[in-house]
Point group: C2
Chain length 364, copies 2
Amino acid sequence: MVQLSLNRRVRRSPFSDKVEAAGVSAYTVYNHMRLPTVFRSLTEDYAHLKQAVQLWDVSAERQVEIKGADAEKLVQMSTPRDLSRMADDQCYYIPTVNAAGKMTNDPVLNKIGADRFWVSLADSDLLLYYQGLAAGLKLDVEISEPNIHPLAIQGPKANELVERLFGAEYAATKFFRHKTVRIGQTDMILARSGWSVQGGFELYFDATEDAGTFWDRAMEAGRDLDIHAGCPNGIERIEGGLLSFGSDMTFGDTPYEAGLGKYCHDTPACLGHAALQSATIPERQIRAIEIAGDNLPACDRTWPLKDADGGYAGQITSAAQSPDFKCGVAIGMVEADYLAAGSELTVETSTGPRACTVRDKFWI
Amino acid sequence: MVQLSLNRRVRRSPFSDKVEAAGVSAYTVYNHMRLPTVFRSLTEDYAHLKQAVQLWDVSAERQVEIKGADAEKLVQMSTPRDLSRMADDQCYYIPTVNAAGKMTNDPVLNKIGADRFWVSLADSDLLLYYQGLAAGLKLDVEISEPNIHPLAIQGPKANELVERLFGAEYAATKFFRHKTVRIGQTDMILARSGWSVQGGFELYFDATEDAGTFWDRAMEAGRDLDIHAGCPNGIERIEGGLLSFGSDMTFGDTPYEAGLGKYCHDTPACLGHAALQSATIPERQIRAIEIAGDNLPACDRTWPLKDADGGYAGQITSAAQSPDFKCGVAIGMVEADYLAAGSELTVETSTGPRACTVRDKFWI
């Protein structure tokens, strides 16, 4: 790893003081913010995430708030997922696309009321897309980046922690639904969601309340649960098949290539609708890929996939050595000829070629 | 400084191999790319930049290409700077704004022909704004991120290097003008521009040619000029008053607050035109600020400015210790009451308060 130069542009969050005190050792930059990536070590953080509970400062999941009479119309223009039956307490994972049907982000959309949404972003300034589109069409919406900083509570003991902090009715929140919880003098959104498959919640922390005070309260409540500061884990998220926009799919890919065809409904109101009609059978698609051997190097760039004849078969976009599965776990964009589970390929890693196999599903 | 976790999302450039071989020691992340920030040390890089010539991989200045019959119309909608008399070989520094008159970026706009522009970005996905606006208005444009990776040639000996590489007619390029230069089989744009005030050029390298081959050729040509790999320097750019979007001004600021009023013309075609009419006398504005003393700590966040009574007077947004000027050099957003040169304030740095003075201009 290399050093990261810090300045105002790489923004801090209201939780940054606590994250630093907890010993963050590496960051990435995500939506112009510092997003922790490692505390103790990637593998220690991984093992702990699977057995205890962690607090994650995921403020870098910036919110775009869209409210007003045309709010749903604007959001629907940006995604092929049908929003017409979305409940007021619901969260949707939505691929967002431009008019060419190419992905612009893969946020979680939170409906906060009839005419109010929070688009909880992956790493791109989708705020600017909404501003441009709303200006062009003179839509009746207000678009802003509110003072909201998601704090994730993740791990198998997340339920217990949420019950202690807020009560049993909050721990009973259904998957991808949210409830309103009072913290200090402020109502906040608590959703059952998060960027791990260990279970957990995301608290959309409103920084009109003091973030450090709440952090300390949560840490105190979880002390005997072995609570620790954590972050999205680069191994666990691959095992669980959680895609990373910018790594696993980019501005150049369609939702079908990203394996998100199930979110592409017949929604003519989506500006990418026409383009997506001819993209339903993609020439390449995301797959889980198992890489043989130990000590896989850090995957700091794409790695080419080759077939038995040395022909191009796609590329690995994320990879890590899995302690639990005793293999390299990877996500790759695989060319159509090699999509079948069991396809045997070679990946050119930065420390040499390795045998690998296309899988039918992710690990956990 | 802390560690930066690297993955595909934090993109490499065609010059990354050379940058790594040259000993890059720190990066920032800029437009989802790795942008070098330090090679030997901030102060060694600084001294060298002022006396020799450096090659900078500034691929992170991503290009948005806008071409088609409505290209100028679309760009003009995004900026208050009048584009009507822009020549086909001209570069304009343009604040870009949304319909509310708030800044979205401060790119260099390169006109490449009658209906073709490259918007050379600071750190935001302005691509998405243009896509949204063009879709809303059904404009006749193609918008893309081309395979172009700027390589800057900066420093007092940049002229000599360009003359050796391309000939005297290229070294004679006027400021913020560009010429077309043939490299291999490909025509590329060479502009007299760059993010230092030491003089120099930006070569908009088309990566259909091999970047490493050109890098080596330039290094060889500059060997007796003491050429070295470099990058935008955090001290020199403050001395020279080169603003950093995201640090010195953000999505929340107007061009007038950023001191860019001279680029705000009477251009009703700019969507922010009406909003900007009421923003001409800002309540705060960017200023150069001199900070007393030695050993200024790294400015990794904003630092509050206080007046003699302890009242809020603004904030420092970038700062560094200047070897040449023997003081702290800083950029700050200063409240209206304290804008006059000579205003004496206190800055709350991360190592305690310091006396500082508002200046009438930058240092170099």
